[in-house]
Symmetry: C2
Subunit: 307 residues, 2 copies
């Protein structure tokens, strides 16, 4: 086991309260005063979760967006957030970060109500944390663990754009701009999550890649999942970047930062917005991959794992 796996196992032994959901969901769900509070907190680190050369406005945006996406995955309405900010020593950079953060908070109606500002030792990397609080849907807060054998696996939007965007950013390229934008300005699907929550058996956001995240949903639900690579929704921008082959589809299915919603529903469930059916759940366990009618071997890496 890696250091991180060992540590998270130790955390799980600590986090035995129901609200923690075994630390296996996108967010914690705390019942208070008849309401279900949805709580999530993500930390992003320079050189691990973003490129130090990314524009600071985009990093501020992203810090809000990754947390909003966790609320979206639980169908929660954003209520408020707290931010923990490590000053970088560059006042202009810090100022620009706040501009991007404010754009996202304003757009999604999530007021900043507290947090902490700290100085860091010389040379330390940027480390930024945001804790988001939302109100869960009255119908109950969907988990990752509710998928049943026979359910279909669906995804919103298109996948793989941000993964290509990250490669473009690393190489200093700017085209296709939609992919760069998908990486730098992810759009959390807050309204979509609220619309879907009453209808799904299980829901989560795609943050590390379709394959690894679908495998997590299947494992949490104690079922198997089969994904058809040829059904993955790919954008024109992504398709225009290379040949539409197995390699491109595998890259799209294992790239991080999509922030689409992944959901399990019984077949034939009418949904209020367009989604793409990319697979199905079955008795058993594990992930299998199809391309057309051909079973293809799993790639060595199922998703984007940070650091």
């Amino acid at each position: 086991m890696t250091t991180e796996t060992v540590f998270i196992e130790a955390l799980r032994a600590l986090a035995t309260h129901d609200a923690a959901r075994g630390l296996q969901d996108d967010a914690a769900v705390l019942e208070i005063g008849g309401a279900a509070l949805v709580l999530t907190s993500d930390t992003i680190v320079a050189g691990v979760h973003f490129l130090p050369a990314d524009p600071p406005e985009d990093i501020g945006w992203k810090l809000a967006a990754v947390n909003l996406s966790d609320l979206a995955a639980k169908g929660a309405q954003p209520l408020a957030c707290l931010m923990n900010y490590a000053l970088t020593g560059d006042d202009d950079w810090d100022r620009r970060f706040l501009l991007g953060l404010k754009e996202a908070l304003d757009l999604y109606g999530m007021p900043l109500i507290g947090g902490d500002t700290v100085a860091m030792p010389e040379g330390a990397p940027g480390v930024f944390t945001l804790t988001a609080i939302g109100k869960g849907p009255d119908c109950g807060v969907p988990s990752r663990s509710g998928a049943k054998a026979g359910d279909i696996l669906c995804v919103t939007g298109t996948v793989g754009d941000a993964g290509l965007g990250l490669e473009l950013a690393k190489r200093g390229e700017k085209s296709p701009p939609n992919c760069l934008r998908a990486y730098r300005r992810p759009q959390p699907l807050v309204q979509e999550g609220q619309l879907l929550a009453p209808l799904v058996r299980a829901m989560m956001d795609v943050s590390d890649g379709v394959l690894i995240d679908a495998a997590r949903m299947a494992a949490a639900s104690a079922v198997a999942v089969e994904i058809s690579l040829d059904r993955l929704p790919l954008s024109q921008a992504l398709l225009s970047s290379g040949q539409d082959d197995l390699q491109l589809r595998t890259a799209a299915a294992t790239a991080g930062d999509d922030y689409q919603l992944l959901l399990a529903v019984p077949p034939g469930t009418p949904l209020p917005l367009p989604v793409t059916i990319i697979g199905r759940f079955a008795e058993g366990q594990g992930l299998s991959l199809l391309n057309g009618r051909t079973l293809v071997p799993l790639p060595s890496r199922l998703g984007y794992l940070h650091g």
Copy 2:
């Protein structure tokens, strides 16, 4: 203005929601479902908020304690917390940190329900964040800003012990042990805060030093405050460390990490636990210091300001 002051001013411009309390209180207060949620989040950084050589169990304890102390200052009952942990690369250190954290969480009944674990680039300092959620008292959540001219200023326990403890820790000394313990294992006054909350005009915890924190309470309340150094409650351990003179009392009044409660009450208010009257509020603004009947000049540094 310092970089931090400029940044916090920019944050205040962002945090206009009532729940933020102008970012001038120990915690945010969010009304939901008829309950007042009290939310606070503190980050601690190696070399800034603790010594890298401090025992990891004590750092884990402290991360919980500093946040619990903010809840205590608002008379809140701890409900849950989320932790954001930057892996240090030393598995044994991380494991010991969790032991100390667990001790505090168990003792104060604050379950861990979520958060994030991140890897850091090589050589980065330890950075740990905890976000605590509490339930505010039904009588209303006390603020820092309710003190009135004529109120008296009181403090729980003794002050200055942790300040001396920090000096001892820096020098590798172990005596007096009570002071070292006050620095390493601060005891947040959660029950005391709940008992005091219905009776106070204003309350906060002493995290940066009695003088600076009392000055903050006075400024938030738009009144002046006068503190009598000769009335400061000092422990036998602190008194035995040097001569009981103005220098020792000034050091105790400007040292951080006490985590006592500072409160404003009308004179003659019966209180459910022992406190020491150390000053009074008056019309006007600013802080003045007395030693006996003598007005003494303010020290150049009113408290312990990190980094």
